[in-house]
C-alpha cells in the first residue's frame, strides 16, 4: 500500500467551491465500506502529485461537474415538487440585461456570499470545459494557469488565468514553491 486509496478509488471530486480540496472515496477491502479521504490541492505535495498522476485534473473536473449536476437536478426536482403543492411561487427575475448581470458578477463579487461562490465555482468549471483549456499542453505554463484558475477567489482572476490560454498571457510567479503569483502579463494582440 502506498496510500489507503491506492487501487481502491471509487469516486473523487472537488469538495468545495474554492477547488482546493479533493474528496477521494475508496472502498476498504477489510469491511467493504466506502471511506472518505481528503487531499489538499497542492502541486508541491507528493501525495497530491501521486493522486493526479493516477486521476488527471480533467477527470476530477469532469466528475465534479457530473456530481454537481446531480445535486442541481435533485434541487430542481425538489423545487418542482414544492411548486406543485404551493399556490404562491417565487419567480426568478430574468429580465435583467446580460451586461448588468455580467458587470455585477465581475465588479461586485463578494466571496463571503455563498450564492456568488457557487456562481464562481460554476464559472471556473465552464472555463475548464473550454477546448482551448481542456486540450492545452501539459507544460508548466498551462499547469500553473490551471492552478491559478482553481485558486482564484474572484471572477477577474479566473479571466486572467483564461488569458494565458486564449491570449498568450504569462503568469509571473513570485514564489513557485508556494505558488504565489505576482501578476499576469497580458500582451496586446
Amino acid at each position: 500500500m502506498a496510500y489507503l486509496w491506492s487501487d481502491k478509488i471509487t469516486d473523487y471530486y472537488y469538495s468545495n467551491p474554492e477547488l482546493d480540496t479533493v474528496a477521494v472515496m475508496w472502498t476498504d477491502p477489510e469491511d467493504g465500506l466506502v471511506r472518505e479521504h481528503y487531499i489538499k490541492v497542492d502541486e508541491t505535495d507528493e501525495q497530491w502529485r501521486d493522486f493526479v498522476a493516477e486521476v488527471p485534473y480533467d477527470k476530477i473536473d469532469e466528475r465534479t461537474m457530473v456530481r454537481n449536476e446531480e445535486f442541481r437536478e435533485q434541487f430542481r426536482e425538489a423545487f418542482r415538487n414544492y411548486s406543485e403543492t404551493h399556490v404562491e411561487t417565487e419567480y426568478v427575475d430574468r429580465t435583467k440585461p446580460f451586461e448588468d448581470i455580467f458587470i455585477d458578477f465581475v465588479s461586485t463579487y463578494n466571496k463571503e456570499d455563498s450564492a456568488q461562490k457557487e456562481q464562481l465555482f460554476k464559472f471556473k468549471l465552464k472555463v475548464f470545459e473550454l477546448d482551448i483549456v481542456k486540450n492545452s499542453k501539459s507544460d508548466d505554463k498551462f499547469k500553473n494557469a490551471k492552478a491559478f484558475i482553481r485558486k482564484a477567489e474572484n471572477p477577474v482572476d479566473v479571466l486572467l488565468g483564461y488569458m494565458v490560454f486564449a491570449n498568450d498571457a504569462e503568469l509571473k510567479m513570485a514564489d513557485t514553491e508556494k505558488f504565489e503569483v505576482e501578476g499576469v502579463y497580458v500582451p496586446i494582440k
Partner: protein
C-alpha cells in the same frame, strides 16, 4: 562518507544489491525502529501541543417564526446559522526520546562490503554505513507514500482500524470529528424544530504503522580479519550489525544533528500523511418550510445544500 551500494552473493558472483533489495533493507530497519519509536505523537483529551487546533463547525436551523394570520415570508424567516462546535486539540508531540546514543564503531571489518570504483571489495566506514543504511531509511520514512519503509511513523485515517496500523489512543478516540446538520432530522411537521441537530459525518484517527517484520531477501557480505568473506544472516535480529542498526535508527530519528531527525506538524512543511482532516458544512441558503396548526402559522428555514469543505488541515512529516 557516501551512500554505498552493499554487495551480495547471488549464488554465482558477488554483485551489487538491486534498488529493490536496498528498499527491503530500509523496510527492515524501519521495522526495527517501529519496535520502540523514539519520535512519538500521542492522543490526549485536550490541550494537545500539535497546533493548530481544529474546530468543527456546522449549520443549524434558523429560529422558527410564528404568526396568527399568515406565514412569515421566506425573506423574514431567520436564516440557518453556523454553529461553532467542539474544538479539537488532541494530538501532542512530537516527543523525543533522547535516552539513546549512537552505536559504537564496529571496527575495520564490522560493516558490510561494497564494490568500489576499482571493482574491489571494500568495507564501509562507519560514516558510509550511516549514510547507506540509517539516513537512507530516515529519508524513506518521511515519504508521503506509505510503505513498509515508513514503519513506525504516523498517519491520519478515517477508519479506527487499519491493516498494518495501530490506532494511537488505543480506545478509538478520534482526533477530529466532522459533524454536519442532519437534514433528515428536520421536518415541517416538527416546526418549531430543534435548531441544532447534528450528525457525525467523518471521524479522523491518528494511526501509527506497526507492520510485521520482513527480512531482506539479500544478505550483506562481511570480511573477517583473515580476509575471508562471509554472508550475514538473512533472518536474524541479533547479529552485531543488525543490533547496531536498531540502536542507530532510533538514535538518529530522535537526536540526529545533521538534518535527519523526524518531526511532525500540522499545515507546515513536509509531506502529507494520510487524509487531510476537513471540516465540512452544508452550503445551501436555507430550506424554507411551513406548518399551520389551526390559526398558528409557523415557518422555519432548515439547513440544506451539499457538503462543502470549509477548513483543511494536514499532518506533515519532515526532517529537522
Amino acid at each position: 562518507m557516501a551512500v554505498r551500494i552493499p554487495a551480495k552473493y547471488d549464488g554465482t558472483n558477488i554483485v551489487e544489491m538491486t534498488t529493490g533489495e536496498r528498499t527491503e533493507w530500509h523496510a527492515y530497519i524501519a521495522y526495527l525502529y517501529a519496535q520502540a519509536p523514539t519520535v512519538t505523537l500521542t492522543v490526549v483529551s485536550g490541550s494537545g501541543t500539535l497546533t493548530p487546533g481544529l474546530t468543527d463547525t456546522r449549520m443549524k436551523a434558523g429560529a422558527a417564526s410564528q404568526n396568527s394570520s399568515a406565514f412569515v415570508a421566506e425573506g423574514s424567516t431567520a436564516e440557518p446559522a453556523t454553529v461553532t462546535g467542539t474544538a479539537y486539540d488532541k494530538i501532542t508531540g512530537p516527543t523525543y526520546n533522547t535516552d539513546g546514543s549512537a552505536a559504537g564503531d564496529l571496527g575495520a571489518v564490522g560493516y558490510p562490503l561494497y564494490i568500489n570504483g576499482d571493482s574491489d571489495l571494500q568495507v564501509m566506514t562507519q560514516a558510509d554505513y550511516v549514510d547507506t543504511f540509517i539516513y537512507a531509511t530516515l529519508d524513506a520514512m518521511i515519504a508521503a507514500s506509505e510503505t513498509a519503509a515508513t514503519n513506525g511513523t504516523y498517519t491520519i485515517a478515517t477508519a479506527a482500524s487499519v491493516t498494518n496500523y495501530t490506532e494511537v489512543s488505543g480506545a478509538g478516540t478520534a482526533v477530529f470529528i466532522d459533524t454536519r446538520a442532519d437534514t433528515s432530522a428536520y421536518a415541517a411537521s416538527g416546526i418549531p424544530e430543534t435548531l441544532d441537530q447534528p450528525t457525525t459525518v467523518t471521524s479522523f484517527f491518528l494511526q501509527r504503522q506497526n507492520r510485521a517484520r520482513a527480512f531482506p531477501s539479500a544478505a550483506c557480505l562481511f570480511a573477517d580479519s583473515n580476509g575471508d568473506i562471509s554472508q550475514g544472516p538473512l533472518a536474524a535480529d541479533d547479529s552485531t550489525f543488525n543490533a547496531a542498526l536498531a540502536v542507530d535508527i532510533k538514535f538518529r530519528a530522535a537526536e540526529d544533528d545533521a538534518g535527519h531527525k523526524l518531526s511532525y506538524n500540522i499545515n507546515g512543511s513536509g509531506n502529507t500523511r494520510g487524509t487531510a482532516i476537513v471540516d465540512t458544512r452544508l452550503d445551501g441558503a436555507g430550506n424554507y418550510q411551513t406548518r399551520q396548526v389551526s390559526d398558528d402559522y409557523r415557518s422555519q428555514e432548515f439547513p440544506n445544500g451539499s457538503a462543502a469543505v470549509i477548513g483543511t488541515n494536514t499532518l506533515k512529516i519532515v526532517h529537522v
